[in-house]
């Protein structure tokens, strides 16, 4: 049997935001606040920096646009120049559509797979799933989890702290069963 961390339940989005502020002020870093839907203002409460996903999407979009424009230019100017109804080989205005479509396509892949990368999913074995009650989080429950590899982690201290800030149903995550 090994231990992975502690979870505590809170009543509603409001108390979860207040708890997040206190956990973050206390100096914990390896913690998370779980809710059935995204909560407005939670990033600030947890002290999270802005997501870097935007840069990934930007680079992907630019790659898509350059690839689209380059592909069309290469096909009609270099690989197989062919006179079709007298149009110029390098008919760049006509390349706008496919350039745009590929920019959107690449950005969408960047958004979805970048999101998966930053979220480290798919990941099917996270310790929070050892708790039976935690599954309510996808319906109507609000939980704070503090992981064992947090430098400030000390089990009884963390349990007392979570109790003090209003957490209930406190549970130590173990792989016992």
């Amino acid at each position: 049997m090994s231990k992975y961390g502690v979870i505590a339940k809170f009543d509603n989005p409001q108390s979860l935001v207040h708890a997040a502020e206190k956990v973050s002020d206390e100096g914990f870093t390896k913690f998370d606040c779980h809710s059935p839907f995204p909560i407005h203002g939670m990033d600030d409460a947890m002290g999270l920096k802005r997501s870097k996903l935007g840069y990934v999407i930007g680079v992907m979009g630019l790659t898509g646009a350059l690839f689209g424009f380059g592909l069309q230019t290469w096909i009609h100017s270099i690989e197989y120049p062919m006179n079709i109804s007298g149009k110029p080989y390098f008919a760049y205005p006509a390349y706008a559509i496919i350039t745009f479509e590929l920019m959107v396509l690449f950005s969408a892949f960047g958004a979805v797979f970048g999101m998966m990368f930053f979220n480290r999913i798919p990941r099917f074995h996270h310790p929070v799933f050892y708790s039976e009650k935690f599954s309510d989080v996808s319906s109507d429950a609000f939980y704070v989890s503090i992981e064992i590899d947090d430098p400030k982690y000390d089990e009884s201290g963390v349990i007392d702290f979570l109790k003090n800030i209003g957490g209930t149903e406190i549970e130590v995550l173990t792989d016992e069963n």
């Binding site: 998370d32 096909i75 099917f124």
Partner: protein, 459 residues
């Protein structure tokens, strides 16, 4: 009472009754979790499967025999296949409008219908993609659409709007699929947490191990916002590019710059009609009248009124320009639409797309569900006739009277069109049976309790 405060009171009523987070989960997730499938579902599914078998049979015969089984002739080389393609793509557009554009404008009422509409988009675009796929005749070389190196050293002509169209619709399908799946991830986690046995494994696999932590929501929300942001210009580009298939040709009646905005407005108009039809059926069959409320139907009717008027404006502007240009061929093309041998197609279009939506000026009609159901179907009939007017009536009489001909569809045209309904509804019914038809996570955001400042005193 001022209009604004009336609108605010309406917004409060989007989720009537004493609902909370738990009841929303129970109501929405309860549908795919039903032990016993409702008998109506089986009836509709059986009907859809029989239409699907017509689709498989008639497309099979088309591939075996060739496009000669259709009614296309010289000069009407584009018949029902192109009409149906444009019609289905157009229907798909409302889904993206609801999920992307209304999300950017923070129209929270869309949270009750966006999943629904996105799924409609996916299956509508699949139905649409069938037609360009099969109308090429030699379907086994359809991969020539793609810019692939081959032994002939040939490449697609990137200056042709038909290739732009291929890229646009393909991108549109892929991005719609990604958007739809991204929205589903938290809901799949809900179903995973409530299911047992094999179902838990399957839902769990697709939920990717989602655990609802804010460190996940943070990236998730940004990804969702960006997808909405890039889908918005994408959806506008797709139907604009579809219209370029026509507008870049030199046929009188097609060669007009009004086509892109006119096509986009028409697409949204017909798509909202289809969302309306489907949601009226689904809320009835599954008793979800408290989640997809009359308020939602009212708002959709308002958008149909707006886009219907835009389409009506485009129809009249086309006539004005045909007259004002002084071009006899252009003028003839439009007189022939209204008074030629296919006059009934033109007037069916005017009735369904211009006259019918005028009822939506009145609140009474926007909230009358049987009336909405009938008009939502009329809207799509009208939009089908719009494409019939554009494709068939324009082509059958062009420049030289010696080249004119009448066009008649064959039973195979009809069979393939009906068959795509089988494809659409089979997919849609499977979605209703196994996946949450309303976004569970987003529906909760409409509740005032989801706001962390709910209940704070305003001192």
């Amino acid at each position: 009472m001022s209009i604004k405060s009336k609108a605010l009171i309406r917004a409060e009523k989007l989720l009537p009754g004493n609902q909370d987070f738990t009841s929303i989960t129970e109501d929405i997730a309860g549908v795919p979790e039903q032990k016993k499938t409702p008998i109506q579902w089986w009836l509709l599914f059986g009907f859809s499967l029989s239409l699907l078998s017509i689709f498989v049979g008639s497309v099979g015969f088309l591939i075996w025999e060739g496009t000669g089984i259709w009614g296309i002739n010289n000069p009407v080389f584009w018949g029902w296949a192109i009409i149906n393609f444009v019609w289905w793509v157009g229907i798909g557009h409302a889904g993206t409008l609801i999920s992307a554009i209304l999300h950017l404008f923070r129209q929270n009422w869309r949270n009750a219908i966006n999943r629904f509409a996105e799924t409609m988009t996916l299956f509508a675009v699949i139905c649409a993609l069938v037609f360009p796929g099969i109308h090429v005749g030699r379907i086994w070389v359809a991969y020539w659409f793609l810019p692939l190196p081959n032994q002939m050293g040939m490449w697609p002509n990137m200056r042709s709007p038909l290739i732009w169209d291929f890229f646009a619709v393909f991108t549109y399908f892929t991005v719609s699929l990604l958007f739809w799946y991204t929205g589903l991830i938290p809901d799949l986690a809900t179903l995973r947490d409530r299911a047992k046995g094999l179902k838990k494994k399957v839902y769990g696999f697709f939920a990717l191990g989602w655990r609802g932590g804010n460190r996940q929501w943070q990236h998730y929300e940004l990804a969702y916002l960006v997808l909405a942001g890039i889908s918005t210009p994408l959806v506008l580009s797709v139907h604009s590019v579809v219209s370029s298939d026509f507008a870049t040709s030199v046929i009188p009646g097609w060669h007009t710059t009004i086509f892109p905005p006119y096509f986009v407005a028409g697409a949204i108009y017909s798509g909202f009609g289809m969302v309306m039809t489907l949601s009226i059926i689904a809320r009835k069959v599954y008793n979800l009248g408290h989640i997809i409320t009359v308020e939602h139907l009212d708002k959709m009717a308002q958008i149909m009124l707006l886009t219907g008027c835009m389409v009506g404006y485009a129809y009249s502007m086309e006539f004005f320009v045909a007259w004002y240009s002084g071009n006899p061929y252009e003028s003839f093309a439009f007189v022939n639409r209204a008074l030629g041998p296919y006059w009934w197609g033109y007037w069916a279009m005017i009735f369904c797309n211009v006259v019918v939506p005028q009822f939506f000026w009145f609140e009474k009609y926007r909230r009358h569900i049987p009336f909405l159901f009938i008009t939502s179907i009329l809207v799509n009939i009208g939009m089908w006739f719009e494409r019939f007017v554009i494709v068939v009536i324009t082509l059958h009489r062009d420049f030289m009277p010696g080249a004119w001909a009448m066009y008649n569809p064959t039973m195979w045209d009809v069979a393939i069109y009906l068959g795509t309904f089988g494809l659409f509804f089979t997919g849609f019914l499977l979605f209703l049976r196994f996946l949450p038809m309303v976004s569970i996570a987003e529906a909760k955001l409409v509740l005032p309790e989801s706001d962390p400042h709910h209940g704070d005193s305003h001192e």
